[in-house]
Symmetry: C2
Subunit: 419 residues, 2 copies
């Protein structure tokens, strides 16, 4: 598919994240202070809430789907409504559109506009579906002979995360306190995390709810779109707490998502297969077609007041399991899925050191600090560091991007119980 | 505290779960088919939604807090509102109340009335805080030398569960499918669970939300009340999936709660201390007073069409950590807590075999089947079995009960993907 041209000129630039081919969904603080639903186009945001108020967009009869500036209700309408909306907005913003002059009034400059949570997270599940990552982390935590757990090639291993901790790009993240036990100590102490880390992931957003088990094909139909996702991780808290029931407080400080949900429709041209299986999958996990996406990803780290260094470059196609497979597995027990459920892909690492999606892996547990362009080194994150994830599917002369997924690390509180 | 007498005569019987001392909160299907909020008194339900509609109860100015038949909004109002409401209802239902004749019209017989979910579960966290249970299960899963994980005496170990799977007492529970791997098999199969189990727990319901870490005392203030909780567990799915990131689909089929939330206020006379510490706690987990409750618990199992056998009798005071400690730990990372969050205590087992709260423990992994009064035996649950949890704090001449927490096991689907 070539670039689709828009009358919003900036959208036609080859390095723009938001051409007409994309039309991602976000929420922004409008002039009246309230959240509005918006669609990114070039360097502008199309105010969908106002379009609905003025009767220029109408979903499902009389309902004010976009009134609260949250995409959750829209996502619950399902694929036919998503397609109808996309067709309407595409027509509005296409080069030569008759009503372009009237629509200029509904465009808000992206620069300087505050982005807000684009949807209400129902529940959040995080997976562990990258083989390079699982092998690296398993080697560090359990030794090379136990690196990949016996179930890993059969199950998209996942655990339930904490929806209340999901925040939108731009939100500061406070270094947490927790129980830490040094390897040579007998007992833990309660102290600020010393090994605070990022995890580069994609998040799949469930639009259509389900009751009972669904197939991989049905799961794919249920997914509305994807976000970039940084699953902040306190490695020292994790190491002490995670046996036997999994990560808990180490993952509950924050999970940051990109401000834009890229609709699955925009990613269709970039579908690709999961890698060859090293063990045959059970039938219920077999994919009826390509369910991964070719999305180039990178992680930037900028120390306080200094220039950024890109510390990782990888691609979503490195994953061993797709989000559709993860979602299908999630329903095997009969677990009901809801509109607004978010599935983290798991950390996306490639085979090379420069392709690893977490400092834990890049610095091999802190033993091989990474040197930044500023000359500083990092084992784990330091206070004042700003982390930025970026991602885009690369088309012929255009790109489908997610916008930056950013968060700055604030120092731990002196005393977390002082009010 | 003695029995508080009510003009609803059945409430004064010593074996009634719902004396005036209790006043638990539930939701029931009213005559008009809609859910209404109700308070249990004797063998009746006081229709709080209708009382509010008619202006006899008013919370927070004009708001219709009880309109939707859900207690979530009420719980968010906090302790002062809870106390004011409790005082109002106590006055209405007390023996000699002047307006008793007019209130008779707001009483609905409990018998034959369908109970519904009393609140909207925001997120669900399940703990592992019973020492007898953790020791028993650990011995079976990891051997006696690794029974209690190294962190267990320092951390109230917990994991995030799945809020969408929480159902109210009376809901049938369908035996799940999942990945099962026999100990002597090399690879798993996808098949119906063969080792389906219950877990006897209490659930603490968060009323007041929080941002940032809270103390144990503050956590206790945030808790609105308690329910009985059956954390249905697929042991064969769990054994294969739970390493390294914890239970996932094995716990996602259903979690059943009692229809009545017993307010913390009703349990105050029954507070008791957690057991002596075997390792000193970190300061943030130290309790400023008694935070457990003396609540007698039992589990009944009735095969299809047959009489019930009580297979376990234990007490909530057996827990090593209180819900307040669990909630305080839950916030250490800065994890925001929401109105409607539910914390499962973990399985409540006493030191004796007859006091164990799961078949896994009672039958020692299925090796020592339990014999029912009907002469049948059980290693794990069979299709058609009805499980009933009961619990009550026992006062002097009265009891504060939760009502039955019941669920029947339906057979697995022949083919989970057949529509």
């Amino acid at each position: 598919m070539p670039l689709m041209r828009s009358w919003v000129e900036a959208a036609n630039a080859p390095d723009c994240d938001f051409p007409l081919n994309n039309l991602p969904c976000g929420s922004f603080r409008s002039e009246d202070g309230e959240p509005h639903c918006g669609v990114a186009i070039g360097d502008m945001i199309l105010d969908v809430t106002r379009l609905e108020q003025d009767g220029l967009i109408q979903m499902e009869d009389e309902e004010e789907i976009f009134f609260y500036g949250d995409w959750t209700e829209f996502m619950s309408l399902g694929p036919a409504a998503w397609a109808a909306f996309r067709a309407t907005v595409t027509e509005m913003l296409a080069e030569g559109a008759a009503d372009a002059p009237g629509l200029v009034d509904y465009l808000v400059p992206m620069a300087g506009t505050e982005m807000m949570m684009p949807f209400t997270v129902a529940e959040y599940t995080d997976f562990y579906a990258g083989k390079h990552h699982a092998t690296n982390v398993g080697t560090m935590f359990r030794g090379p002979e136990n690196a990949l757990p016996p179930n890993w090639l059969s199950i998209p291993v996942g655990y339930n995360g904490r929806a209340s901790s999901v925040v939108v790009s731009g939100t500061d993240v406070r270094r947490p306190w927790g129980q830490l036990k040094a390897p040579d100590a007998e007992l833990p102490v309660f102290a600020p995390c010393k090994r605070f880390d990022l995890e580069l992931e994609m998040g799949a957003i469930v639009g259509v709810p389900s009751e009972g088990p669904v197939t991989v094909a049905e799961a794919d139909e249920m997914i509305f779109g994807y976000v970039l996702l940084n699953d902040w991780s306190a490695r020292d808290i994790q190491a002490w707490e995670y046996q036997p029931l999994g990560p808990f407080q180490s993952k509950a400080t924050a999970t940051t998502i990109s401000p834009w949900i890229v609709p699955k429709a925009a990613l269709e041209p970039f579908r690709c297969d999961t890698p060859a299986r090293e063990r045959p999958l059970l039938d219920y996990l077999k994919e009826p077609g390509p369910m991964l996406y070719d999305i180039a990803l990178e992680v930037g780290l900028a120390p306080e007041g200094k220039a950024e260094t890109v510390i990782s470059r990888t691609n979503y196609r490195e994953m061993y399991y797709s989000s559709a497979q993860q979602l299908a597995h999630h329903t095997t027990s009969g677990c009901p899925m809801s509109t607004g459920d978010m599935l983290g892909s798991g950390t996306i690492s490639g085979p090379e050191k420069a392709q690893r999606g977490a400092l834990l892996e890049i610095t091999w547990g802190g033993k091989e600090p990474v040197t930044l362009d500023t000359g500083e080194t990092r084992s784990f994150l330091e206070d004042g560091d700003t982390l930025t994830l970026r991602g885009a599917a690369l088309g012929d002369g255009y790109r489908v991007g997610f916008g930056a997924c950013t968060g700055k690390v604030l120092p731990a509180l002196d005393d977390p119980y002082k009010r």
